[in-house]
C-alpha cells in the first residue's frame, strides 16, 4: 500500500449500480484493483495484476464466478487462487504462487467499499452510513463523476471550503461585499468533522430561481468530511424544506489526479426531466473549482500548519488536516 494514503480504512471506490459481471478497475495512488460481481450478486475485489506475466485482469471476463486473465486465460476464483491454466497439460499441478491478493468489500449508501489495510478488524473507522435518503421515494438521485488535476486532499478541502464561493462561483460574485463568514462550530469524531454554516443565498441561475423566494437570503449548509475520501454537503434552502445533498468520494488516482464520484440528491423537482439541471450545476461548480484548485502548491494539503496560513473561516479544513495528520503520522503526502 502506498505510504501516502491513510491505511486501515474503507474506501468508497465505485457506484454499486456500476458493478456487474463486467470487471472494472480501481486505482488508488497507483495501486490497482479489479472489482466484479458474481452470480449471487456478491462484490469481489482482487489485485489487478496476473501473477503469470503481469497483465491487467480487468480486461478479462467472468466465468463460473471466476475471473479469466485476458492474456493467457488463467482463471482465478474469488479467493484469488488460480484454478485453471489453459496452456498446462492435464495433470500438471497449479503452482502455489499462482495467486492474486483479495480485499474485503462491502456495499453501503450506493457505493462499493474496498478495505485497504491489515484486516477489517483493525479498521480505524467503521463503514459510514451517511446517506439514508438514498432509496427514499421523497428523494431523487443523480450519479456523476469527473476527474480533477489535483491531489485528493485538495479536492476534499474544496468541498469543505466555506469562504471561496464569492470569488470562485459566478452566482455568488454578488456576495463579495458580504463575504464574512460567521464563526461556526466544528464537531469531530476520531475520523470525521462536521460543521453547519449560514451563507447568503446566491443569485439564482437555474430552476431554483422559480422555486425560492428572494427574501430567503440565507441557506444553511451542513458539511461533513469522513476519512479517507467522503464529503457530504447538505444544503437547506430554508424554504418549504427543500434540500440538496451532494455526496462524493474523491479517489486518489495519483499525486496529481483525483477521480470524484458523486451522488446528488434532491427532495424538490424530483421529476427525471430536472436531472440534467442537477448534473449541470454540479459540473459547473467542479469546473469553476478546478480552475483554482489545480494551481495550489504544494500538491498535497500540508498537515504541518507551518507552510500555509489558515484563518478562522478555515476551521473545518484545520480539523480535516489534524485528522489526516494523525492517520498519516506526519508523513509528507506528496513529493512536491
Amino acid at each position: 500500500m502506498p505510504t501516502t494514503l491513510p491505511t486501515n480504512f474503507w474506501y468508497a471506490v465505485e457506484f454499486s449500480r456500476n458493478l456487474t459481471k463486467t470487471p472494472v478497475p480501481v486505482t488508488l495512488m497507483g495501486q490497482q484493483y479489479v472489482l466484479y460481481r458474481d452470480d449471487h450478486g456478491r462484490a469481489i475485489a482482487l489485485g489487478n495484476q496476473c501473477p503469470h506475466r503481469g497483465a491487467a485482469l480487468h480486461r478479462g471476463w467472468v466465468e463460473d464466478n471466476c475471473l479469466r486473465c485476458p492474456y493467457h486465460g488463467w482463471k482465478f476464483d474469488a479467493s484469488g487462487a488460480c484454478v485453471n491454466i489453459p496452456a498446462d497439460l492435464p495433470g500438471v499441478p497449479i503452482p502455489k504462487r499462482a495467486k492474486v491478493a483479495t480485499y474485503p468489500v462491502q456495499e453501503q449508501d450506493g457505493m462499493i467499499w474496498l478495505y485497504v489495510g491489515d484486516s477489517p478488524d483493525t479498521a480505524a473507522a467503521p463503514l459510514p452510513h451517511l446517506l439514508p435518503e438514498l432509496g427514499d421515494p421523497q428523494w431523487r438521485a443523480v450519479y456523476g463523476e469527473y476527474t480533477w488535476n489535483a491531489h485528493y486532499t485538495r479536492v476534499i478541502e474544496s468541498n469543505l471550503d466555506v469562504s471561496h464561493a464569492a470569488f470562485v462561483h459566478p452566482p455568488f460574485y454578488g456576495n463579495r461585499d458580504r463575504a464574512t463568514v460567521d464563526e461556526y462550530k466544528v464537531s469531530t469524531t476520531p475520523y470525521s468533522a462536521t460543521a453547519t454554516v449560514k451563507a447568503p443565498a446566491p443569485k439564482r441561475r437555474t430552476f431554483l430561481k422559480y422555486l425560492l423566494k428572494e427574501e430567503n437570503r440565507y441557506s444553511l449548509t451542513t458539511i461533513t468530511v469522513y476519512l479517507p475520501t467522503i464529503n457530504r454537503i447538505e444544503i437547506d434552502f430554508g424554504f418549504r424544506g427543500y434540500k440538496y445533498i451532494y455526496y462524493t468520494t474523491s479517489l486518489p488516482i495519483d499525486e496529481n489526479t483525483t477521480l470524484a464520484k458523486y451522488i446528488g440528491l434532491r427532495n424538490f423537482l424530483t421529476f427525471p426531466w430536472a436531472d440534467k439541471n442537477s448534473h449541470d450545476n454540479a459540473y459547473k461548480t467542479y469546473i469553476e473549482d478546478q480552475a483554482v484548485v489545480q494551481t495550489c502548491h504544494p500538491l498535497a494539503a500540508p498537515t504541518d500548519f507551518q507552510q500555509e496560513l489558515l484563518v478562522a473561516s478555515d476551521a473545518l479544513i484545520i480539523a480535516y488536516r489534524k485528522l489526516l495528520g494523525h492517520y498519516t503520522a506526519g508523513r509528507s503526502l506528496s513529493a512536491v
Partner: protein, 342 residues
C-alpha cells in the same frame, strides 16, 4: 543561477492590467502593474491555501487571490481577508515575497539576489535602442538547455560553418583568426572577422556580391546576456542581436531577444528579420540541447578549449569569480568550479 543579477521575465508589452504568471528562476512568479503603471513582481502562491495569484485580478490597486479573495498590496502585504470578521487582525505571515523590477528596452527585468541592487551586476547597456535610425523587433524562444550553454552558443565564433546553413559553404575556410578579448567586471567581448555568408533573403538584394569580410562584435554580459553586433562592411549597415537568457529552471532557458537594424527600417521587413533569427535559433537548438555536462564547467580542465574559444574561456572565468564570491546558486549544479562535473 547567479545571484545579485537582473533577469528578464517578460516583455513590457505583454504585461497589462491582468496579472501574469511566469515561471522563471525555478520559481512561479506573478507579475502585475499597479494603477500607476509600475511593474510588481511577487511569489505566485497565496500564503493562505497555496493557490496561484496569477489567476486573480486587481481590486483597488491590490492583487486579489482568485480562491478566497485575499488582497495584497504592492509591498506584498495582505490588506484584506474577506471571510474574516471585522475584528480579526490580519496575521503577519500573510505576506508575499516581492522582487524589485525595472523596465528597460521594452523588457521587464527582475532583480534576483540578497545584496542591494547597487552592489549587484547591472542591466547591460543598449544605446541603439530608441536611437534615431534604428528599428527594433522582439522575439521569445525556449531552449531545453542550461542558460550558460545558451549564452556561450551566442558568443561562439567557430560553429557557423557546421551548424548554420548559410555558412555551410565556408567549411573549407573555417579557421578563426585570433581575436582579443576585453573583459570588464561583468562582461567579455571581442571583435571577430569572418568571411561573409551566402547572401540569403533580402540581404541578396542589398549587399554587394564581393565583400571581403563581415565583422561581428560579440559580447557576453553576466549572468546570461548576449550582444552580437554585425557590421556588413557595406554602407554602414549593421544588425544588433540582444538576447537575454533567463533560466526557467535548471534545465530550461527562455530567451527574450531584440533585433535592431539600421537598414531597411520599414515595418514590412520585420517578418523577414525575425525569420532569420528564429531560423538561427532552430539550427542552434538541437546541438546546444545535446551538450554534456548540461551546465558549462567553470573549471578549465573539464573541457578542451582552443584558441577560437577565448571568449568562452573568459566568460567561464567571470562566472567562476562570482561563484567563488558565493553568488552561485544551484540545487542541481552546486559546485561547477570543481573539475569534471557529470
Amino acid at each position: 543561477m547567479l545571484r545579485n543579477a537582473w533577469y528578464v521575465v517578460t516583455r513590457s508589452a505583454a504585461l497589462g492590467q491582468t496579472p501574469l504568471g511566469v515561471r522563471a528562476l525555478g520559481e512561479q512568479l506573478v507579475l502585475w502593474r499597479s494603477p500607476d503603471g509600475a511593474v510588481q513582481a511577487m511569489v505566485d502562491q497565496c500564503p493562505h491555501r497555496g493557490a496561484q495569484l496569477s489567476g486573480g485580478w486587481l481590486t483597488a490597486g491590490c492583487l486579489t487571490c482568485p480562491y478566497h479573495g485575499w488582497q495584497f498590496n504592492r509591498a506584498g502585504e495582505c490588506v484584506h481577508i474577506p471571510a474574516n470578521q471585522g475584528t480579526a487582525a490580519i496575521p503577519k505571515r500573510a505576506q508575499l515575497k516581492t522582487y524589485a523590477t525595472r523596465e528597460r528596452y521594452g523588457l521587464v527585468w527582475l532583480y534576483w539576489g540578497d545584496l542591494p541592487e547597487s552592489q549587484g551586476i547591472p542591466i547591460p547597456p543598449l544605446p541603439e535602442w530608441g536611437a534615431k535610425g534604428w528599428r527594433a523587433i522582439y522575439g521569445e524562444s525556449e531552449w531545453p538547455a542550461h542558460f550558460t550553454r545558451v549564452t556561450e552558443g551566442n558568443m561562439d565564433s567557430s560553429h557557423a560553418p557546421f551548424v548554420h546553413s548559410a555558412f555551410f559553404g565556408l567549411r573549407e575556410e573555417a579557421q578563426v583568426p585570433p581575436y582579443r578579448v576585453e573583459t570588464t567586471p561583468w562582461s567579455v567581448s571581442a571583435l571577430t572577422l569572418s568571411k561573409p555568408p551566402k547572401r540569403v533573403g533580402l540581404l541578396k538584394l542589398i549587399l554587394k556580391r564581393d565583400r571581403p569580410v563581415t565583422t561581428a562584435h560579440l559580447t557576453g554580459y553576466l549572468p546570461g546576456v548576449n550582444r552580437i553586433d554585425v557590421d556588413f562592411k557595406f554602407k554602414g549597415y549593421r544588425f544588433i542581436y540582444f538576447g537575454v537568457h533567463t533560466p526557467v529552471d535548471e534545465t530550461t532557458t527562455r530567451t527574450q531577444w531584440i533585433g535592431l537594424r539600421n537598414f531597411l527600417t520599414a515595418p514590412w521587413v520585420d517578418g523577414h528579420s525575425r525569420r532569420n533569427v528564429v531560423k538561427t535559433f532552430e539550427e542552434d537548438c538541437d546541438v546546444i540541447a545535446s551538450v554534456r555536462p548540461a551546465i558549462v564547467p567553470f573549471h578549465s580542465a573539464t573541457e578542451v578549449l582552443v584558441g577560437s574559444d577565448a571568449l568562452q574561456v573568459a566568460y567561464r572565468k567571470l562566472l567562476r569569480q562570482y561563484a567563488e564570491r558565493g553568488w552561485w546558486h544551484s540545487d542541481r549544479y552546486p559546485s561547477p568550479c570543481q573539475p569534471s562535473l557529470v
